[in-house]
Structures are given as C-alpha cells and as structure tokens.
Symmetry: C2
Subunit: 379 residues, 2 copies
C-alpha cells in the first residue's frame, strides 16, 4: 500500500531547512525513534526495544544526510530508507556515538553549531559526544518537533486513512459483540478487524467495560460485558508506521438515564472544542476552552491534557493540549482531540477524533457526527 | 494466575542490600522501566510509550522505598504495587525530577551518595537533578542489572512457564499451517494460540519464510509458504510481565539435502553451546566457544551476540553473550541462548531455548530435545 522508498516526499524539508537557518545550526543529529523514522523512512524496531542500539540521522544544512545504524539493521535500511549514505557500527565493538563522531569529523563539522536531542540522549551518550568531539551543541528537540508537526499532504492522507479504517474496525467488531463476551474477546475481535483492514499490527488497545472504564490505559481483562454497561475503547493500528489513535464509547443495551445525560453533556463540550480548534490559538487556550465548556454543563475536566498531535511511528506529540503549553496551532498540524470525563467512581467517557488545522479553521477528518449516540451493543 | 501484590517476594532484596552496602550508596534511584517494574511490581505502560512521563523508585539503604508516578497512574499503582509510599506529580505542572528532589530532601539525603541510571536518564533530566539537589551521584545502571540478573525462584518458575506455553503455541499453530498460508496468517495463528494460553499479549513476533529468513527482525508479510521453504520464528508472549522469547525452525514438506546438512551442523554447535553454559564462565567465553563450534563444522558465526538474560517486562538484559562482555555467569541467572546462522543469501537458522545457571552446571528449562528435527509443516 505504501511505497516505502518514496519517504522523502513525506519529509517537510522546506521547514527543516528554514528551522536550521533560523537557529544558525550547521547540522542536526536526530536520534529519537520518531525523528529517525521521520527523516529516514526506515522503522528500526529494535531501536525502540533495545535502548543502547542507537540509530541516528546526521542532517547537515549543506549536503546530504547520513544514516548511522547497527550493522544488523543494514538490509532493512537498504529496503526502507531513501538515504544513500548509510554507515554501520558493530554492536558492542563500537559505540554508535563513536561512529557519529567519525562521520562529523569527515564532514568537517569541528567547532560548528550542532543541534542534539538533549531530551533523548542519555547522560552517558551525551557525555561521550561532548567529550569526544568539539562543537557548539544546542538543544534541538523542539526544532525537530516543529518540523514534524507541520504535515505533508501524503502524511495527512495516510494518517486519515488509518483512522477511518480503525473506526470501521471498531464498529464491525462491536456489531459482532453481545452481553457475555469478555473484554479480551472483544479486544481480539477489534484487533482482528484492524489487521483485516491491512494493518501491520496493533499499536495500542485499551478496552474497558462497566466500572473498569475509570482506569486509564487499562488492558482488556476477563470481565464480561453485561446489559447496561458502558464500553470504552482507545485503540490504534499501524499501517506502515502511520498509526491511528481513536476512542469510541459503546453501551450494552439501553443506557441508563444517568449515563445518557452524562454522555450528552460530555459530547456537547467535546464537539464545541472540536470547533474551537484553528490556527493561531494556543494549546493552553484549547484546554481552557474545553474546561469552561465542561463547567458550563456542570461537569469537571480533570484530565491533564485533552489531545495531542501524532506522526509516523510516534505516540503523543506536540502540540499536546495541556494548560501550560503556549505553542500556537498552525495550518498543516494534525490534532487527535481526546478529553476524557470521569463522571463517577464507575463511569468514564472518552471520544477521540482527528482534526487537520487549516488556514481558515479546521477540517475534522473522522466521522464525529456518528458519535451523537453511543454505539449500541447487543444484549 | 499471578498475585500481583505478592511482588516483593520476586525482588532479590538481599542482593540489592548487599550491592548498596558494597558500593557505599545511601540510596538508589531506579528509573528505567525494567527496574521500576522489578522493584515496584507495577507495570506502567505509558512510562515506555511516553518518554517524559517518568516513574521512579527511590530505594534507600535504610527504610522503605518511595514510588514516584504521574497522578493518572495512581489507581493502577494502588492495584499492582506493594509499595505503600506512593507520591504523584501532575504532568506538565511539575517535573518528575522536581518531585524526586522533594522526596530526597524529606529523607535527609542531602550530600549523601546516590546511585542513578546514567544510561537511562536523559541529559536534560540528569542536569535538572544535579543542579537541583546536592549529592554524590554515582552510576548504578550495572548495580541494578546485577540485582535483576540473579532470579528469585518465583521468577524462574513464571518465566519458564511463559516459554513452555509459547512452545506449545508455536507447535499448535504450525500444525494447523500448510503451504499457501501467508506469513501474516501464520503469525496471527501463533498470536491467537499464545493468547489462548493465558497471555496478556504478544511481546514480539518475527516470522519469515523462504528467502525472507535472512532479514533480522522481519515483520510477517504477504509471502505465502511454499513446499521446501524454511520457516523461522522468534516470538514472545507476556504473562503478567513475564515474557517468553523463543525461536524455532520449521520446514514445509521435505527439507532439501542442503538445508538438512546446514541445520544439522548448526544444531550440533547449538546443543554443544547449551551444555557449555555454567557458573564461572564469562559471557565472552560462551560466545567464543560457540564460534569455535561453528568453525569446527565449517560454518561461520556472524551474529553480534548469541544470547541474553531477561526479566519481568524487559528485553535483552545482561549478561548479553557477546565477545566483549567479561561478566561471569552465576547460579540463579537465566539465559536465552540464540545464536543465529546465515547459511546463504536465502537461508538463515535460529533456535532459542531457556537455561537456568545452577551451582553445578545448568538446567535447560525448555524442550531442546524436540529441535532434533525442524518442525514439519504440511504441503
């Protein structure tokens, strides 16, 4: 479905070059998995699971980038990355930072200004770099975040597609569900429906029924769905690294008057916040607006954030919608909006849709209208 | 199956106290997910997926430990951890390191000697800690590794159980497989069999057929199994955080004379290396022994390592069996032995079994005898 070698079209190189120029950087060293994936197009699974096995992209302001990886990933990189200059180190025999230093020396970067990820590099690797190569190092974590945050059209299309398939999978799985099914069985059914729609795998799955809905990030368990139960899912599939991250609410049989009222108030505030998203407002303003919309309806927003952006391979990314984030929304950003509402000791509500910020407002890319009612599950 | 609140019995507190005393440490701050999981008994999923959201265990030489987590994980921690003193921070409002400093101040740890994980703490958090609280900081990454490496009986039992169930799942799935099935379908079948055996989820799944076997860590794809194909899997399930990590070889129909010969030579060297494991030998000696056993049979060992330990929640852990690791094997250690053998541009072989190091040798905990022949898949 996805032509992996075309990945350069998915990089916002124009924004990257502009950011490098504005920061006066001669090069940036990307090392967090979401950044190396974004810049190289190759997803190196073990970079995530084996912490010391770094993969790095050295992106100079002038010239072509270099990709530094462990030699056992060489064939994967040849297949997936568009970067031609790939350099490999032998694990345990050479440190990846040591190879990075070699490459920077070849490139004549001594004494130049180099951006690094201080929020990813460990203290040990950081010291090895600073002691081994003389340069003017600057934090570039936020710079790389800003580049990834403004999406290329191909990225928007692929992430939207992942969400649309995920919603279809949830609805198909829940249509086949009835009272008596365990959370685990329902979760497996959703996973199977996602895989059936071409996903390479499941990124995350939260599924909780009844009083279990109050636990954040609960793994599906043995509890069986019963009439009157709420059902909450927050699930994501992975299509070539383009992930979905979507939440929907269901109810088994007839909702109680109480849950109808709670859901109605919550969803009104949710929809109002969807419509508040747009260019120029800050993440904190969106959070505060949502909190006021909750309050107007006599309910309380207690979540620490109410949404986030996302990229290929990544999880929650900035702009994260929390009350201390003054970052402004810009055209081209994607936001997964997801305020949660804990109504009682036994009931929590959660919806999550995908929104593209445009120059004159927003485009909601998922079927938010369908959430007017909770999805009905058979008794 | 697993009584989560009993987790303190799964901690080698005797070894931890001895290591703290020997290093002259007044406290150690555990922050890598495998360490906080080990010490607290609570698995905080988002600690892995959301990098800045630290969970930390402050373990003092005197007195009880403190568990520092993001407030949205509080209910999970109350359910899963045996640690009574839990302190929470509000994400984005307070830094986790800032809360750690508060707790260390309360504990009167100013100026004392404190172990930290320099190979996990990022440069940014590391600086925040050193600038915010005056103490004599020492690297404690290896100290914590050594504690986790010597298993408690309950850990051995649970990890063995995970492996045994995984082998049964592979065999059941492959018995239902025949030529024409795609790698994805076979992988799903294995995952379903693992879940059926009580797993909470799949930790990793590599499955490759035919010429795909040569790629390390390949995700299962659309390729269909054909007569004569080799089939290679390296798969792990998760039972309450006790993970399996097991590799097995199959062949669809009759193996070729070439692959029979290659597998035979590889397996002889493998079995010989299994029997070489024991207390007192170093990781490097095991690697070198295996390389010699390969060489004797006219085949080449090119893998950077040939095995590793593992713990609750973790991936590859020390002692990792690579040629530069002088760490000695000790009774109570678990080793997943897994040399791989790339025989040609189209064929790679891989077996992986679990071994307990004992005071007088070893106990192989998985059914290595059953690998005398590759598992036969129907044509």
């Amino acid at each position: 479905m996805i032509e992996l070698k075309s990945a350069r079209d998915l990089i916002n190189t124009e924004r990257l070059q502009r950011e490098l120029a504005e920061a006066g950087l001669d090069a940036v060293v990307a090392v967090a998995p979401e950044n190396t994936y974004y810049l190289s197009g190759a997803y190196i699974r073990t970079q995530v699971s084996i912490r010391d096995r770094l993969a790095l992209v050295l992106w100079p302001r002038q010239g072509e980038p270099t990709f530094i990886v462990c030699n056992i990933e060489e064939s994967l990189v040849a297949r997936e990355s568009w970067i031609g200059d790939v350099r490999t180190y032998v694990e345990f025999a050479q440190s990846p930072v040591n190879l990075l230093i070699e490459v920077m020396r070849e490139r004549g970067l001594q004494g130049s200004r180099i951006g690094i990820e201080r929020r990813f590099l460990t203290a040990e690797y950081h010291d090895e770099l600073l002691e081994g190569f003389q340069a003017d190092y600057r934090p570039a974590d936020q710079l790389l975040e800003r580049v990834r945050a403004i999406k290329m059209p191909g990225e928007v299309e692929r992430i939207r597609d992942a969400f649309v398939r995920t919603e279809a999978a949830i609805r198909a799985a829940w249509a086949a569900t009835r009272a008596g099914d365990s959370e685990k069985v329902i979760a497996e059914r959703m996973s199977a429906e996602i895989t059936e729609r071409g996903a390479d795998g499941i990124r995350h799955v939260t599924l909780a029924s009844g009083e279990n809905t109050i636990h954040a990030h609960r793994r599906p368990g043995e509890r069986r769905l019963a009439p009157g139960d709420l059902l909450l899912t927050d699930i994501g599939g992975n299509w070539g690294g383009f992930n979905s991250d979507m939440a929907r609410m269901g109810v088994c049989g007839e909702p109680t008057a109480e849950s109808l009222k709670e859901y109605g108030a919550y969803r009104e505030a949710y929809v109002d916040t969807l419509r508040f998203l747009g260019p120029g407002v800050t993440a904190a303003e969106v959070f505060n607006h949502c909190a006021r919309e909750f309050e107007k309806r006599g309910i309380a927003l207690r979540a620490p954030h109410i949404g986030h952006s996302l990229s290929r391979g990544g999880g929650h990314e900035n702009p994260i919608l929390h009350p201390f984030n003054e970052q402004r929304l810009e055209p081209g950003m994607l936001i997964a909006l997801e305020p949660t509402f804990q109504a009682s000791e036994t009931r929590r509500y959660h919806l999550e849709d995908l929104v593209l910020i445009t120059s004159d407002g927003r485009e909601i890319l998922t079927d938010w209208q369908s959430t007017a009612d909770m999805i009905r599950l058979a008794t």
